[in-house]
């Protein structure tokens, strides 16, 4: 594997649900060996890094985010040796692997909590956040408003309340206890030793609690992250910390610190804005949010995505915009989940391939490292009638064979049924068919990733929005030394003209990047382009 320590600046990530990817032992649930078996496919597609959802021991009451042993692999997924093999095989193919790590809380079945709840004097008594009443920190909001009423839950055994920012079966760890702080760093060391390339740190803003605050983004939390970073840099150079902090960009940047906290943070608000821009057929929702995105330290990078395993997150849009997104994308109230919308990309855009491609073109050319969600590369659908967030976690559709080629178990044994409807079902949408079809979404995606890989400017270049009188046209320039890429797209369902102010590049020749077709050179006059409905161009500007 290459030893580029800044790999994450240019990488394309692929979020994969181990449970849903491939079942190697025919028990109806995907596993680590199944993922290893499909690494050739991922290498062919051209992704640089996988992001695995939690694969630790867990009662699975929250998709594995309720961890009951940080040092053990969930038996359904395999054992530690399988994880080691996966990492080695991935590295042989130049693919890195980062994994979810939940630092904020554990499952209530974790032995630590079981011990802690016994009484007030046991050795783990202070490992969680206990109180005699449920009144403290009233400023902290309840995040899972659909299922939780309070951040406190009563434990009859101990006769006290414990603090939980998420589900009540997920008690928050007490980071004011030095043993907890140290033990969690041991967890990090353990997995990096095995070869993982980094972590996506789940729910980082909530590690500490302080009176008179909303208990989010506290200085103590940042201090702890700096400590983790220091340990990682010292012993494991080139490993990456990616923070999940669903906040406005001006607050999220704090998690980069001075380049001494997290290497990457997700940029949450840009995602709903991309959908909104297409719906409104105008660029303002996008340029507004990119305009208010602060610059970040040179060794840091945004993570951007269209969809992930969670809902289309709307926490970070204003009420008015949230109502608007709901009205547009979730006419069926079942689709509303917490403050978001539980849909996959294809159904979200009415299965319009042009829109899906346009949105991916934005994802691949905006500042940041794109994160794909498994199945979106073939245009998979969802099943909103499955409970909670399972609707977007159905089995990967490999072929038109039984169980979508995902598993040879009995159908009834599958962790979730594969999609079988006539539009998105595995008979119609699957990897095998799309591999054979040169014009498939999958082949298009592979081509886009190839082009992106050839131009580090997409990962590391500057970003400048160009003036265009037509509100439906979004044009921007990415620049890295003499690698200059001009992107222009049409957010409207109608064909649109645009005159672009490109005088700065007078004399250069635009080469369309997917077909390498040269366009007329840029002159003194505004550069005229015509864009098909939802069309986009990527041009490399070269010396004429």
């Amino acid at each position: 594997m290459n030893d580029d320590q800044r790999w994450y600046k240019r990488a394309v990530f692929y979020e994969v649900l181990v449970r849903g990817f491939f079942d190697a032992n025919d028990d109806g649930t995907g596993d680590l060996r199944g993922l290893t078996a499909k690494l050739d496919y991922l290498q062919w597609l051209g992704v640089d890094s996988l992001w695995l959802l939690p694969f630790y021991q867990s009662p699975l009451r929250d998709g594995g985010y309720d961890i009951s042993d940080f040092f053990t692999v969930l038996p359904e997924y395999g054992e530690l040796a399988d994880a080691v093999e996966l990492v080695e095989e991935a590295h042989r193919r130049n693919i890195r692997i980062i994994a979810d790590l939940v630092m904020n809380h554990t499952s209530d079945l974790h032995p630590w909590f079981q011990e802690s709840r016994q009484d007030r004097v046991n050795p783990k008594a202070d490992w969680y956040v206990w109180a005699d009443d449920d009144q403290r920190w009233p400023e902290a909001r309840v995040i899972f408003i659909d299922s939780e009423k309070s951040n406190w839950a009563y434990d009859a055994g101990r006769g006290q309340y414990y603090w939980h920012r998420f589900f009540s079966h997920q008690p928050d760890l007490n980071y004011d206890n030095p043993e907890v702080a140290e033990t969690m760093i041991d967890v990090v060391r353990f997995w990096l030793d095995i070869g993982l390339d980094g972590f996506r740190l789940d729910a980082v803003p909530y590690l500490f609690e302080r009176d008179g605050t909303n208990c989010e983004n506290l200085p103590e939390t940042h201090e702890y992250l700096r400590r983790v970073r220091k340990e990682v840099d010292a012993a494991f150079p080139g490993k990456v910390l990616l923070a999940e902090a669903n906040q406005w960009p001006e607050d999220v940047v704090d998690y980069f610190g001075d380049g001494d906290e997290c290497h990457m943070c997700f940029h949450f608000p840009v995602m709903p804005r991309m959908f909104m821009a297409v719906r409104r057929e105008q660029r303002t929702p996008i340029t507004e949010i990119l305009g208010r995105t602060p610059s970040i330290p040179e060794n840091c990078q945004w993570g951007i995505f269209l969809r992930n395993h969670d809902e289309l997150t709307l926490e970070m849009v204003t009420d008015e915009e949230r109502d608007y997104m709901w009205a547009e994308y979730a006419k069926d109230p079942r689709m509303k989940r917490n403050l978001g919308i539980g849909r996959r990309l294809a159904p979200l855009v009415d299965n319009d391939r042009r829109v899906a491609e346009l949105l991916h073109s934005l994802l691949f050319s905006f500042p940041g490292s794109p994160v794909l969600y498994y199945g979106d590369e073939i245009g998979m659908g969802d099943n909103i009638y499955l409970g909670d967030r399972d609707g977007v976690r159905t089995p990967m559709q490999w072929s038109p064979d039984r169980n979508a080629g995902f598993s040879r178990a009995d159908f009834a044994q599958l962790y979730l049924p594969p999609l079988m409807d006539s539009v998105y079902g595995y008979q119609a949408v699957n990897v095998e068919a799309e591999l054979r079809n040169p014009s498939s979404m999958l082949q298009w995606m592979k081509r886009m990733l190839e082009v992106r890989k050839n131009h580090p400017v997409f990962g590391e270049g500057s970003f400048e929005v160009l003036h265009a009188e037509n509100p439906s046209v979004l044009a921007y320039v990415r620049e890295l030394d003499d690698d200059i890429v001009l992107c222009a797209c049409n957010l409207s369902r109608f064909a649109q003209p645009a005159e672009l102010a490109l005088q700065r590049f007078e004399g250069k020749v635009p080469i369309e990047l997917l077909g390498r077709v040269p366009f007329p050179p840029i002159g003194q006059l505004p550069y005229f382009v015509t864009l098909a409905p939802y069309g986009f161009y990527w041009f490399q500007l070269v010396e004429g």
Partner: protein
Amino acid sequence: MPLPEGVSELLPGYLARQRWYGGSEPDDLRILDSDLLLALERETHRLWWALVGAEGARWQLLLGERPKGEPAEFLQGREEAVLGLAGSAYYYDGTLDPTFDLVLLQLATGGAEEAERVRPAGVEQSNTSLVFDDRVILKVFRRLVEGPQPDVEVTSGLVDAGFDHVPRVLGVWRRGGDDLAVAQDFLVSGVEGWALALTSLRDLYASPEADPADAGGDFQAEASRLGQMTAAMHRALSAAFGVFRDPGRAGEWADAMAAGLHHLRDEDPQWRSHAGSVVDGLRQVSDPGAAIRVHGDFHLGQVMRTDSGWYVLDFEGEPARPLQERTRPTSPLKDVAGMLRSFHYAARVALREQAGDAAPGEVLERQAAAWEGHNRRAFLRGYLGYPGVDELLPGDDRSRSAVMTAFELDKAIYELAYERSYRPDWIAIPRDAIRGLLGAA
């Protein structure tokens, strides 16, 4: 310094071809002043400045000169901007010449601003604007007024009053007491309100039977924010230029409107008397609200949606009205009426795009009316909900509505006269509006 020989003979024909002049060849053209501003390329490329009188107004010209036969890329497709040959040189609109423009910017800002690149800012009705490095816009006034240009005066006043939704003034080019050009921040992320409204309407019209509130391109939130910005602008205008509560101001407004009623002479004869009653209704309002300095020509083409909200441009008032009338304090509802009229225009213009000359059909008609009403309400919600704007408006709803209707009608009659002269194809738009306003009154 006088213009080279033979140039003045080319001017009447040139003027008649300019949109900002908007008239036929003048037969009373006089050169009031002229100067040589620049001489480059061993004095073969020259930029001349001239102030000419024609048809009772003063016009600013910037004329480029190049040797006969020497090509200029920037003149391609711009035949109307070429004056023609005089002696061994040809003459053209000097603002099209990037070399000259870069120097003009320095002149206008006293050397404070320099740029590498320039481009024209698109077609305009009354001025010529140039954009430098997508950062600065230089507006060259064509028709000069006596004293400061209202645009410069008002923009500066608003900024001083703390209103930051106008582009900052970076410099003014003055000569002999006249404002010749103004340099301002260019709103690079800006999109004209008119273009946004049409985008919303095209989306609506392409979704048969859809209600404007359900359509993807719903404009309501923008309209409401635009209303808020308008109210903030009026608060700032009243802080900068004063609040006037002269008794009899409603009568003055009514008098000015009554003078415009003759434009209805070729219309349904009943309209004139009905319109007269609307104007009398205004005259009788006892509490018509304050008079303040207003924008004066407020419509969707004068506002820009930027990444930091709506901005407002061009405080020159309606170009066809005399300066004194344009700068006279009046009701802020004049601007409100102007914007509401603009919503109507947008809905109808987008309808013409869909249907061409054919009748648009019932569904589209209904959608057009629904879009207008929906956004009209949103705009007014934003405007009337803005803190403190009440103090400038009539106290009770009846007076408010009487004043508003009168200003909307006045605007529609002005539009009728304008369309009759310049765009007879569009005359149905104000005509329908007048019919509606008189029917409702």
